[in-house]
Amino acid sequence: MPIETSDHAPETNRNQADRAKQGIRVFSGLGQRDLLASNRIEAAGSGWRMLIRNPWYTGTHLSTVSSMKIEVNGHAVPEENTVISLRGQQIPIAYAKTMHELWWGMGEVADVLLTDPALGGVLAEKNAVHVDIDMRTTFSYGFPDDTLPYRLTVEMEFEK
């Protein structure tokens, strides 16, 4: 699994816009570093599942997940076939933004369930999986729309 982080501190910035960009890079970099809790996609019920760790540096309300898009070998899994599951509670990803009562703990691993039947014909032993998540911050750090992007493409194994 690639680790997208620098080996040294970011360079000095002296203006707010640069600082915001640097902040996005650092916060998103941390999230992407730990985002995937496994490099495997597994069969689960009538679909498949992958394990995604809360990328933010603290726990947060599930309502901060503005969007989550998964692509497998270039095939975009439809939103209606993407479900996030925390402690057994399954939430269609489109409704995650309404779930402010549901907590996604620091470092907590969620099951992301993919129920798209088309994936059966897409998955191979090794797969290029792209994860695209936007998450709002509950406290403003100066990021545009108080939102942080997490974008990561990794190779994931699938055992048929």
Binding site: T5, S6, R14, Q16, H61, V109, T138, F139
Partner: protein, 265 residues
């Protein structure tokens, strides 16, 4: 002054799931800390509705190891819901919950992260819960953090004028120009007028040189100013380098605490 660590310093291991709050507390005790700072949203199991049993276990573990909880940190965010910001009533309710929880944990200081912009909104917010702070014996420690200038909360501290509303300076305000994110280093003299309000400090660190010093943060001078002032509060080391690089957190925590002891004992 009392020296310890914020459990934030163990973030690399907590974020990746290698360590939980109980591991981090034990590690801090083994390093020799007088106390710890706990961050609600990072460390408390079952957040935001923890069981009293878990809170009791945390409090008792800290005490059994001869430490105290210096400070209970939490976030007072307005963007919890996606359809609207939190209402003033919801914000007040949340603050009162956090004050009571701070008290239950046995901490004397609560550090809420709150966007005080303009700073006048902070005055109204704190004033609305002053009776609760006094009732529970909890101090609202407003955190002064870069890029805010050192005088940012002076007006609010003077306006509220209460022993239940005090300052938690973060050393980031006095870091040098090469510190990550630093945009305006401040003169050390700007710490002087804040000392009378200071109840707890975050000793920020991002990296260490071969001697175990933080190259961008004037630890000797800042801790020296606290000592000269007769500061009897607490200083919690806050290692944040885990944002940049994943290294075992116990090693960096140990280095940071040694730096605190070198200049703060």
């Amino acid at each position: 002054m009392k020296l310890g660590l914020s459990l934030y310093s163990f973030g690399a291991d907590v974020h990746s799931g290698r360590m939980d709050i109980y591991d981090a507390i034990r590690a801090a005790a083994e390093i020799g800390c007088d106390g710890v700072e706990i961050i609600a949203e990072q460390h408390i199991p079952g957040w935001p509705n923890p069981s009293l049993d878990d809170l009791t276990a945390i409090r008792e573990l800290v005490a059994s190891l001869g430490m105290e909880i210096f400070c209970f940190s939490c976030y007072f965010g307005r963007n919890v819901r996606s359809d609207r910001p939190q209402t003033p009533d919801e914000m007040t309710h949340h603050a009162k919950r956090m004050i009571a929880m701070t008290s239950y944990l046995g901490a004397k200081i609560m550090r809420p992260a709150f966007n005080a912009s303009p700073v006048g909104v902070l005055v109204d917010y704190v004033t609305s819960v002053l009776p609760t702070l006094e009732k529970y014996g909890v101090i609202w420690g407003v955190e002064l953090h870069a890029p805010h200038p050192p005088e940012y909360y002076q007006e609010a501290l003077e306006a509220v004028d209460s022993p239940w509303f005090r300052l938690v300076p973060d050393f980031s305000c006095w870091q040098g120009p090469n510190a990550p994110g630093q945009i305006h280093p401040n003169e050390l003299s700007t710490f002087e007028p804040l000392l009378k309000y200071t109840v707890h400090c975050h000793a920020k660190a991002h990296m260490f040189d071969e001697n175990g010093d933080e190259p961008n943060t004037p630890y000797e001078e800042l801790l020296g100013m606290l000592a000269d002032h007769g500061f009897e509060g607490s200083v919690a080391g806050e290692y944040e380098g885990w944002f940049i690089k994943d290294v075992p957190s116990e090693k960096t925590a140990r280095t940071l605490f040694a730096l605190l002891e070198k200049h703060g004992r």
